[in-house]
Subunit: 434 residues, 2 copies
């Protein structure tokens, strides 16, 4: 195959078997979001460069697809869905109800070097609540993610922490400088990957023995949510402010009232989240049957980000969640929670004689009206070829009909998998299918 | 508002009221397509420039968004969904079943000067059958469009012609040169816009009296499909090949067998379709209650295009259809066949006391489990403010619940539109809603 036949590297075509099951996964999540009152938003793929400029740090600046449009304006392909959200909130201030609960499903583009699994175009699926600092919103986002995982049929645990607890820890460790605190958090963030022991070692190397001891105490806290909270409270006590503990207690009180158990949501003080901008509740999601794939949806509260991203045009607290679509899809496929769907067609009407085309289309119409997806083989090829098509597409039923059958008011059908054949009325056949 | 707050001109944000009803429209069409056995395809927004280069004529070349990626490769944003289809068919030859019936819903980008209604990013919704020259496929595409229009609740008539009939006409007029024939067709294509009289005048100016007379005869043919076919056959008789008439007769025979009447599908010899590449059946769709908006979905057979677009990597006959998403949405909105949906939320649980948050989330969970989309007001603000939110979002029911109600096993609800209030059990309330 000539090299230039395919899509660009880092890009991909998604054909039916994957597309149909991806759609199913996305629709399942969407329905959960809509049950919480989120509404969809769509923003352009292309933004003014000045809207995106300086919003993603050095790496983002490098990976962004930037170019010049027909009017000589500097433009760029969107890099995420959060900056566009901030722009939309600033622009449509009057129109948008606050709090604004929106979900957005859209591709983003990043000029990554396409290593294993790193796409240059990938789907983001975000949901955010902009305009409230109520902890009820934090709790709702967590409940919603738990509901989404349940709707997808997977055992997932949402691991929740609060940035303010980590701030308290840094304070206790005497780390005041912001860039040192960032370093401190970024090491904690690696705990899941490298283990507690290595994390402690790295802290000792970068900070010192005292700090390493404190981190050791902190990371090793385990047990139930309530037990952990108590122990963590003790470790960071007398730190000011102690809001992190108060917030996490409140969030778990809400979750408990709503009936979410420890097997669905737990407090986990080792979650740090890589991104700088979180200010309160943070969380990650682990699939219990496939933990090694990592967090399939994550998020948290970011009360200062909208102001920054909108160039101070609006200043609104926000909390949100983002599904790792590709990662979740991979996991669901491996766990056999979703399977490739090659087609929705249930019946192939075989084609034997051009003079019977009228019979075929009439039957097809009747079946389609009964919500049975039906195809007609377009040519009167050999039966063998027609069966091969049904097999390749994955159509479960073959229907044979000619003037004889029609005169008797019946059709002959064959199940492709069992090989079972019968002659029945169309009505009986339809009943069998829906 | 600062000018750089908004999206780039020619681009747009689509907020909930429009997004939700657009989604509804698109899903309705998608379901019809899937009932015919079409499966979805997704291709990247970005293609190699060499894949798109020279495929869209001079204008396309000018309007295409071209740029250079991080590896110095020339790339471009896709300009339509047909060239990507040709690339996919060439690339995934082995994997793809033939005939390949796919639909694709995706944005395309064109650097149009953004006049009224001309977007630089807009959604295309195509469905095509690649790999069969059976007229059954032509007829199916037409039936499917008719079914889609019916599913959308609009009165639409699909007007069908065949390029070979126009070829016969050109032959009869003695026009042999391809570029002159193109000119001839492009004048005929304007008939609907400028009227028969002006069309005849233009033909006379560009060709001559004899040709104008012939065109007059041809365009003035009216009546039922059968009557028209007979008259047109007479006008172009003795032309060789006469396939156009044979094909149109066959297509209408199929349509008639399947029960499609003259009020849904008619033969209309004045349809020419602007694009060069059609080779057989062509059609347009007129909304009977809003004809002035123009064709809302069009298409036809293009047997040589896949070869051209795939740079002769595959040579397959094809027939397809394309919905004008923006135009159809405008029409459906004006005809009140769809209305803006501000939210899917049915209930807002009011928030009076932080200590009752547990009650609110429990109720919300129960309602959501019964498929009632439910929101909780996040702050215990004044009732007035909470009602204003419900009103702005368009949530029809308000729910009041505190310890007293819960103790009695009831909730107080109020309908926002009628003002009606009642105290009922949650079960009764749910029944009212679903």
């Amino acid at each position: 195959m000539a090299k230039n036949q395919g899509p660009l590297s880092g890009f991909r075509d998604i054909l039916a078997p994957e597309m149909l099951s991806r759609q199913e996964m996305i629709n399942t999540i969407k329905k959960v979001y809509e049950s919480y009152g989120y509404t969809p938003l769509e923003t352009p793929a292309i933004e003014r460069y000045e809207t995106l400029q300086g919003k993603y740090g050095e790496e983002g600046e490098k990976l962004m697809y930037k170019f010049t449009d027909h009017g000589g304006r500097k433009i760029a392909l969107r890099y995420d869905l959060t900056v566009p959200l901030a722009r939309v909130v600033a622009q449509h201030k009057e129109e948008i109800p606050l709090p604004y609960k929106r979900y957005q499903i859209g591709n983003v583009w990043r000029g990554e070097s396409p290593q294993a699994g790193r796409y240059r175009e990938f789907l983001q699926f975000d949901a955010d609540i902009v305009g409230t600092s109520s902890l009820l919103a934090d709790a709702e986002v967590i409940m919603m993610m738990s509901d989404a995982m349940r709707a997808l049929g997977v055992n997932a645990v949402i691991r929740v922490n609060n940035r303010k607890i980590l701030d308290g820890l840094a304070q206790k460790a005497g780390i005041k400088d912001a860039s040192r605190a960032r370093k401190f958090f970024s090491i904690i963030d690696k705990t899941e990957k490298i283990g507690i022991k290595k994390t402690i070692e790295e802290i000792q190397l970068s900070f010192g023995k005292k700090e390493a001891k404190l981190i050791g105490e902190f990371l090793e806290v385990d047990g139930t949510t309530n037990a952990r909270i108590k122990k963590i409270k003790k470790i960071i006590e007398n730190q000011n402010p102690n809001d992190g503990i108060l917030e996490i207690v409140q969030v778990f009180k809400i979750l408990e009232s709503a009936g979410y158990s420890e097997s669905e949501v737990i407090f986990d003080q080792t979650i740090a989240r890589g991104l700088d901008y979180y200010t309160g509740t943070i969380y990650e999601t682990t699939l219990l049957d496939f933990p090694q794939i990592g967090s399939v949806c994550s998020g948290g509260r970011y009360d200062n980000l909208i102001a920054t991203l909108s160039d101070n045009k609006v200043d609104l607290p926000a909390v949100g969640t983002s599904v790792g679509v590709d990662r979740l899809f991979t996991a669901l496929t491996k766990l056999k929670r979703i399977k490739p769907i090659k087609t929705k067609s249930q019946v192939l009407i075989t084609n034997f004689d051009q003079k019977d085309w009228g019979i075929y289309v009439k039957l097809a119409k009747q079946l389609r009206q009964e919500r049975v997806a039906t195809e007609i083989y377009y040519e009167n090829s050999k039966l063998d070829k027609q069966l091969k098509y049904a097999d390749k597409i994955g159509i479960p039923w073959i229907l044979f009909a000619g003037p004889d059958e029609i005169a008797k008011g019946v059709v002959k059908v064959k199940n492709m998998q069992s090989g079972e054949q019968k002659t029945i009325t169309l009505k009986e056949f339809t009943k069998l299918l829906v």
